[in-house]
């Protein structure tokens, strides 16, 4: 047994007290530009995030999808170069999922987008004008946020409807 680990408990407690859920920032491998893709390439949310309307997960597109346009470089952007590099090497882009629902909660995009008719912007913000990828969640994903919306929309607030 590693008793030295016990030393980390006070540190852990501090961390716990300090609040740890969504204050961290993430860095993305490629500085993806949502605005450019929407305005210049004329893409919509569901063109790339294909699961958002029909599946539990919205899915983040990766090389197999990006390949459709970016097999060869379209511009002289440094960031595109990186993408083309990934595609050439047939290597997955290590996107960081920023909007994360904890394991113990059930969340489905289909339920919210197709059945609940919630706009993407309500949770993810004004993505259409974002020139950089997400480094932190637009809203803090915690139960208070979920419950407030569920109460205002008068949908179920039964614990077991989301917890599992």
């Amino acid at each position: 047994m590693n008793h030295w680990k016990l030393l980390t408990i006070p540190a852990f407690l501090l961390f716990f007290v300090g609040g740890c859920s969504d204050s961290g920032r993430f860095s993305q491998p490629i500085a993806y530009n949502h605005k450019k893709h929407i305005e210049e390439a004329g893409l919509g949310c569901f063109d790339c995030h294909t699961g958002a309307q029909t599946h539990q997960k919205a899915s983040i597109p990766n090389i197999h999808f990006c390949k459709n346009c970016h097999e060869e470089a379209m511009t002289d952007s440094k960031e595109e170069e990186k993408l083309v590099g990934f595609i050439k090497k047939n290597e997955l882009i290590p996107w960081v999922q920023v909007h994360r629902v904890p394991d113990h909660a059930y969340f489905s995009h289909r339920r919210h987008v197709s059945l609940g008719k919630i706009a993407c912007q309500d949770c993810h913000g004004d993505v259409n004008n974002m020139t950089l990828p997400f480094t932190k969640p637009h809203v803090s994903i915690n139960m208070e946020f979920c419950i407030r919306c569920h109460e205002s929309k008068q949908v179920t607030t039964d614990c077991a409807a989301c917890h599992r």
Binding site: M1, H3, K5, L6, I9, L13, F16
Partner: protein, 448 residues
């Protein structure tokens, strides 16, 4: 104020431990601190790995922590309740005893109150109890009643302590600021005495129902479930009686220890031990009566699940503990205390220690067998406490001793001003009281 302490005080024996604590005191404190530190380490280990380091399993999901919780809270009834009853009934022999008893309550309650938290699988989520607590659960009743009892008994300990703190302040005992701060400007004027008396009278009446409610509610933790051996209406009073019983034993042990260590033979006389041990004897008989009716009703009803637990205690795995409990709580103390020849101080010490052990076993016998014998045909549960649980038990006792020693280092364990008051006034008051009991002289004598 150096010269002040040179003045011989009539109760110098009580002030001596505070003014000259001596070396052994610090050795013992260091020893206890070592044990407590190690206990802290053991507890952090439990926090890190989870409750798996204990001996609890399924179906015995409650073990030492809950047993000790009930046990310590039981001991705590020594103090405030008994002191309040003695004060209310104006028993003059209470004077050297009340303070010692009240201190037990305050310290033990703090230790006992921590046990359910030690028992939690996720103590980091304790805030859920405050933000999402559910008043329907007996555990929440416990949180509320133990808080009330703890605050009430601390206040009840503190208020009669004020004049003694003032004595220490006036004698210039260090740390001065502490006594200055705590004495609240006491000067012993008539008006101040009146205020203090009134406050104590209200408190006395208040703490008794609070104390009774606390242990009743602790018994409800068990009695509110439908488990065999727990679901019983007798549990409330049964627990209260057991608590007072173990409490008196704890006071007696402490009195004997202090008498020996601080040389208080002049204050704690044989009569005090005699009276208290007779109270212990009575409680032992009442305890036996409750135990008897508790098991007899179960046995007579002959409900199969109830009987499984019954035989588990009477002739099964728990029989050694059960019969040891009967010996410790009933046979031995009654045998010793019934006879005035054996009702000596060593005899009382043996009886009291046996009662404390016996009452701890009673808690064990209440908690474990009911859990070990589920209603559905599962294998009988086994419970072997681990090193962690034993350590936390020992740690709890060490914290108690240390707490008591720290209290005795700074404050007199026997109420000086109440003794003084007794010297001056009680003889007169008692004489007046006794005359008031007596029939008035025959009026016919003057008529003719």
């Amino acid at each position: 104020m150096e010269h002040a302490s040179a003045r011989p005080h009539p109760d110098a024996a009580l002030l001596n431990p505070i003014e000259n604590p001596g070396r052994t005191y610090y050795y013992i404190v260091v020893g206890l601190l070592v044990i407590i530190l190690y206990t802290g380490f053991v507890y952090f280990r439990q926090l890190w790995y989870g409750l798996g380091v204990t001996g609890m399993a399924q179906p015995v999901t409650w073990g030492f922590y809950i047993i000790n919780f009930v046990f310590f809270i039981g001991i705590s009834h020594a103090g405030t309740l008994i002191s309040a009853i003695l004060r209310l009934s104006k028993a003059e022999w209470r004077r050297p005893i009340t303070r010692m008893a009240e201190v037990i309550t305050a310290i033990v309650l703090a230790i006992g109150g921590l046990h359910p938290i030690i028992d939690l699988g996720r103590p980091d989520r304790i805030s859920h109890l405050f933000f999402n607590g559910r008043l329907q659960s007996p555990l929440l009743w416990d949180v509320a009643s133990i808080t009330a009892y703890f605050t009430a008994s601390t206040i009840y300990l503190y208020i009669p302590l004020i004049p003694d703190i003032a004595i220490l302040r006036d004698r210039g005992v260090k740390p001065r600021w502490l006594y200055e701060f705590l004495s609240w400007g006491w000067q012993g004027t008539e008006r101040q005495h009146k205020v203090l008396d009134r406050a104590m009278n209200i408190l006395m009446v208040m703490v008794i129902p609070i104390a009774v409610s606390v242990h009743t509610i602790i018994s409800y933790i068990f009695a509110m479930t439908v488990q065999p051996g727990w679901h019983s209406t007798i549990f409330g009073p049964y627990f209260v009686v057991g608590a007072i019983f173990s409490g008196i034993a704890a006071i007696l042990v402490l009195m004997i220890v202090f008498r020996k260590v601080f040389h208080l033979e002049g204050y704690l006389k044989h009569i005090h031990f005699n009276y208290l041990s007779i109270l212990l004897l009575i409680m032992s008989l009442i305890w036996f009566y409750f135990t008897f009716s508790e098991y007899l009703t179960g046995f007579y009803g002959h409900e199969p699940n109830e009987m499984r637990v019954f035989w588990y205690k009477f002739a099964g795995d728990f029989a050694p503990y059960f019969w040891a409990m009967i010996v410790c709580n009933f046979a031995l103390p009654v045998a010793i205390l019934c006879n005035s020849k054996t009702r000596t101080i060593p005899g009382i010490l043996i009886a009291s220690i046996s009662v404390i052990i016996g009452m701890w076993m009673e808690r064990l016998i209440i908690v474990v067998p009911s859990l070990a014998n589920p209603r559905l045909p599962y294998p009988t549960g086994i419970y072997i406490p681990s090193h962690t649980e034993w350590m936390l038990f020992l740690g709890g006792i060490s914290v108690f001793i240390l707490g008591y020693m720290i209290f005795a280092r700074f404050f007199p364990v026997i109420s000086i001003w109440e003794i003084e008051e007794g010297r001056h006034e009680s003889a007169k008051i008692v004489a007046e009281r006794i005359t008031s009991y007596m029939p008035d002289p025959e009026p016919s004598a003057t008529g003719e």
